[in-house]
């Protein structure tokens, strides 16, 4: 589904000539979670804020955060644990609002494994990518569920390689984002996938959100506000009409997953916004950030953690940070 | 010697060789026929580029005839023959081997008895005045020394048929005469059939039982002259023999040369 995202927006999708050119680098190659951005462009929500948005695929949240830090993209769409690591390592970036408030980190496995609770994992092999947050907090998750590290065998593998290995049965389970990989595996292999969310075992860390550089935050505060506003609107509208959002993505993104997978992925992402408890998408509380920081310090070698304000500027999204 | 069992050691019949490239076509040999009886010593003389080297290579089975046929020791030549010793015009030494090991290549390839081959190699090195250079690599040798190494290599296995392509061309008169005398001795003692290409008319007559004169390209046999001299020859003696004078003059005339040898 190729095409110029700017040209064929219905309902005033075209941005005004004097609009700010903005690039958003995603956390990964396009999957359903990204549909709201395409929806926003298609519906003209960004144009309404004077923004001419270009959406670029990414290659992992870490790389996206670095691209933001190096000013190679205006905004990034990235996961929170690597963001914390990056900021602790000295990257001049901040979150301006996490949208997936309930972390999508999960253990995924084929349904025929008959795993229904963490205890069933005993003796299984689990694939994970060294260095990512799920991998780092996995032992804690095991512990929280009354298992010890020796109860499962962890196999290390590259992120892009996980789903093939799971589908092939090389491993019994993988650590991953259920709302991304689940539908993909089901669609491709016809095998049902089940999952256990880390968040459900008390290990809830914030998920993906918008990242901007300190530079942008101080020099173009207004642009940040406009962008966040437009994004919030895009998400709010997208989850109301998931098929339309998925369709917008199918029309304008390139090499995206099939439409039905997009829909499924977005449907699975919707509860993670936790709209019933926070009101608007992307509005976080200080407590959420403190909890995530605490977990990361405890399990993922996040050193000299500091305050939430070091990582998050909630003023643009509204809510308690503002 | 197996060659004594057949009545011709080398039989070349109606041989034509044409080299064709996209650019042009060169007839190197044109209808050459030559019978060599076992134990004969044939000297081949002819102008540069007339096909002498090509003739030897055809006999060795290294170049295929365009038309005509060749047989060696009664066997038709259809591929490389191992019953020969070949001294190439260029020394063709392995640059990674020393003098002695270059000579012993012959023994290694033929699976000869090592100890005996070694002794023989040392004798040949001594004979050709290469003593002291046993370990020297080819690039550390003079042109004449390289040629002598190639000569030793061709002689090492005492082949029934020896093909020699100007083996003494890079040698001084003295060394050349000494080695000529040695070759004469080896030929007499072993009964080897020898075909020798040379540019020295004196050498051709001194060594050969027959001298074959070739025409300029395309190479044809112009004349074959028998050398009526005793098998055992000595330079000083042969030089003064009237047959020698007559023959060299005759060959010189056939080649159109003015020099007296």
């Amino acid at each position: 589904a190729p095409g110029g995202a700017q040209e064929d927006g219905d309902g005033g999708g075209g941005a005004p000539a004097d609009a700010d050119k903005v690039t958003l680098t995603l956390n990964w190659v396009p999957y359903g979670e990204h549909a709201p951005f395409y929806h926003g462009v298609a519906q003209g929500f960004y144009a309404d804020e004077g923004i001419d948005l270009e959406i670029k695929p990414g290659n992992g949240s870490g790389t996206t955060i670095q691209a933001v830090a190096q000013d190679q993209t205006t905004f990034g769409w990235a996961d929170t644990p690597p963001l914390l690591k990056g900021i602790a390592a000295g990257m001049p970036v901040k979150s301006v609002g996490v949208f997936l408030q309930k972390g999508p980190a999960s253990l995924e496995f084929l349904s025929d494994q008959k795993i229904t609770s963490p205890a069933d994992l005993k003796g299984k092999t689990v694939g994970g990518t060294p260095g990512d947050a799920m991998y780092a907090t996995f032992p804690a998750w095991l512990k929280a569920n009354g298992l010890s590290a020796s109860d499962v065998t962890v196999v290390n593998m590259d992120a892009a390689n996980k789903i093939a290995q799971l589908a092939e049965g090389q491993v019994d389970a993988i650590m991953g984002f259920f709302h991304d990989q689940g539908p993909t595996i089901e669609a491709r292999t016809g095998k049902q996938v089940d999952y256990l969310l880390y968040a459900d075992s008390g290990l809830n860390m914030l998920g993906t959100g918008i990242v901007a550089s300190e530079q942008t935050l101080s020099d173009k505060a207004d642009l940040v506000s406009r962008f966040v506003r437009a994004t919030q609107k895009s998400w709010a509208e997208a989850v109301k009409d998931i098929p339309a959002a998925a369709q917008a993505m199918a029309d304008n993104a390139e090499n995206e997953p099939p439409l039905e997978v997009l829909i499924q992925q977005l449907e699975l992402a919707e509860p993670l916004l936790q709209l019933d408890s926070v009101g608007a998408p992307g509005v976080n509380t200080e407590q959420q950030w403190a909890d995530t920081i605490e977990l990361m310090s405890q399990y993922a070698e996040l050193e000299n953690a500091g305050e939430p304000s070091a990582y998050w500027d909630g003023s643009h999204a509204g809510g308690s940070g503002s | 010697m197996p060659d004594t069992l057949t009545d011709t050691a080398v039989d070349v019949a109606g041989l034509t060789v044409r080299f064709r490239s996209k650019r042009s076509s060169t007839t190197a040999l044109d209808d050459v026929s030559l019978r060599v009886e076992p134990g004969a010593f044939i000297s081949i003389v002819g102008p540069s580029g007339c096909g002498k080297s090509t003739l030897l290579k055809v006999i060795a089975g290294l170049v295929a005839p365009t038309t005509g046929s060749v047989s060696l020791l009664g066997e038709p030549v259809t591929g490389p023959m191992r019953t020969i010793g070949f001294a190439f015009q260029r020394a063709a030494l392995l640059e990674w081997r020393g003098v002695r090991k270059n000579i012993l290549l012959q023994a290694e390839m033929r699976g000869m008895n090592k100890a005996r081959a070694g002794v023989r190699a040392d004798a040949l090195i001594e004979l050709t005045g290469l003593s002291g250079f046993e370990e020297a690599l080819p690039h550390e040798l003079s042109g004449g020394m390289q040629q002598r190494v190639a000569l030793c290599r061709a002689l090492l296995h005492e082949p029934p048929v020896l093909l020699m392509d100007e083996p003494f061309g890079a040698l001084d008169a003295l060394t050349r005469e000494q080695l000529n005398a040695e070759l004469n001795r080896i030929w007499r003692e072993t009964g080897t059939t020898i075909l020798l290409v040379t540019h020295s008319i004196a050498e051709a007559v001194f060594l050969g039982t027959r001298v074959v004169v070739m025409s300029p390209r395309p190479g044809r046999l112009v004349r074959s002259l028998d050398v009526d001299l005793p098998a055992a020859r000595d330079y000083a003696q042969v030089m003064t023999d009237p047959t020698f004078g007559t023959l060299t003059r005759q060959i010189r005339e056939l080649l159109g040369s003015a020099e007296s040898h």
Binding site: K56, Q72, T189, N255 | T78, G79
Partner: protein, 287 residues
């Protein structure tokens, strides 16, 4: 192994001479003659793949059927062509740069003992660092444009050119250098007329390796940060477990690699028709 055809010196395959360049018919025939064997082998591989995938010896999400791949290529033809073009472009530029820089480096190394000792370690250092490991750094420094991809192609294709260039330049017959010296030739003349042509057979072996590596370099660059090119396509396909697309991308990459390799081979045949490796052995010598 001696066929009657082989033994005719007159039939000896000879290097293409100026005149022959226009002999199109013969050239075409030779070309077709060179093709049937690889065609059979590749055909066999293809059939094997077909059978294996149609019978699902391997699941389709790992190994698609030829039909699926074909459908993908046909379906996404224009987009795939565009991505192929991008990768081809990066590869060619990268390869050309690597050739030029590699040769220049080889010259410095071969000519100067000081340069040899000083440059080789750096070149070696640049070679042994896995490019995939530094690709992210390059992207961070040079952005998401073409630059980092071309740079990776250069980095990865550079070394074989240097090594074979040095080997070739150094293997010049010392006597030819002496000859050149007596002619009062300048260093540049000696290089151009003696050392360089002499090094060509070595060098072309290096170029052949380099051109195939340049493709890999460009693709690796696209893996790390790109929104176009076959590497990007591959990444997407991988993420989507879209094996048909994955194979299509792999197929196109290979095609680019093989195509460029063939171009280098043709160039080699034109540049060094004189070399022993391009003559066949003397007719009757078959070993």
């Amino acid at each position: 192994m001696v066929t009657s055809k082989d033994v005719q010196p007159a039939d000896r395959p000879t290097p293409p001479a100026p005149a022959s360049r226009f002999d199109l018919g013969a050239r075409l025939l030779r070309f077709l003659d060179a093709l049937w064997r690889p065609a059979i082998v590749l055909g066999a591989l293809f059939v094997l793949w077909w059978i294996a995938s149609e019978n699902e010896w391997m699941p389709h999400y790992l190994v698609p059927t030829p039909g699926q791949v074909w459908d993908t290529i046909a379906g996404d033809w224009s987009s795939l062509m565009y991505h192929s073009y991008v990768t081809l472009y990066e590869t060619v530029i990268g390869f050309l740069l690597a050739s030029v820089l590699g040769l220049a480096t080889a010259v410095l190394i071969a000519y100067s003992r000081t340069m040899d000792k000083a440059l080789y370690p750096i070149v070696l250092f640049a070679q042994v660092i896995p490019k995939i490991a530094i690709a992210p750094l390059l992207v961070v420094w040079f952005g998401n444009g073409l630059a980092p991809k071309i740079m990776l192609a250069v980095l990865i294709a550079f070394f074989p050119v240097v090594v074979s260039g040095v080997a070739g330049l150094r293997s010049t017959d010392p006597e030819l250098l002496e000859l050149s010296a007596t002619m009062g030739a300048s260093r540049w003349q000696t290089f151009r007329k003696i050392r360089f042509p002499n090094a060509l057979p070595h060098l072309m072996a290096g170029e052949k390796v380099a051109v195939t590596l340049a493709v890999v370099g460009a693709v690796v660059g696209e893996f790390v940060g790109a929104s176009e090119g076959l590497g990007y396509t591959l990444l997407l396909a991988n993420g989507n477990l879209d094996s048909a697309m994955l194979f299509a991308a792999l197929f196109l990459m290979s095609l680019i690699g093989i195509l460029l390799f063939v171009v280098v081979e043709v160039l080699e045949a034109l540049l060094i028709p004189w070399h022993a490796s391009r003559r066949t052995a003397t007719p009757l010598t078959t070993s």
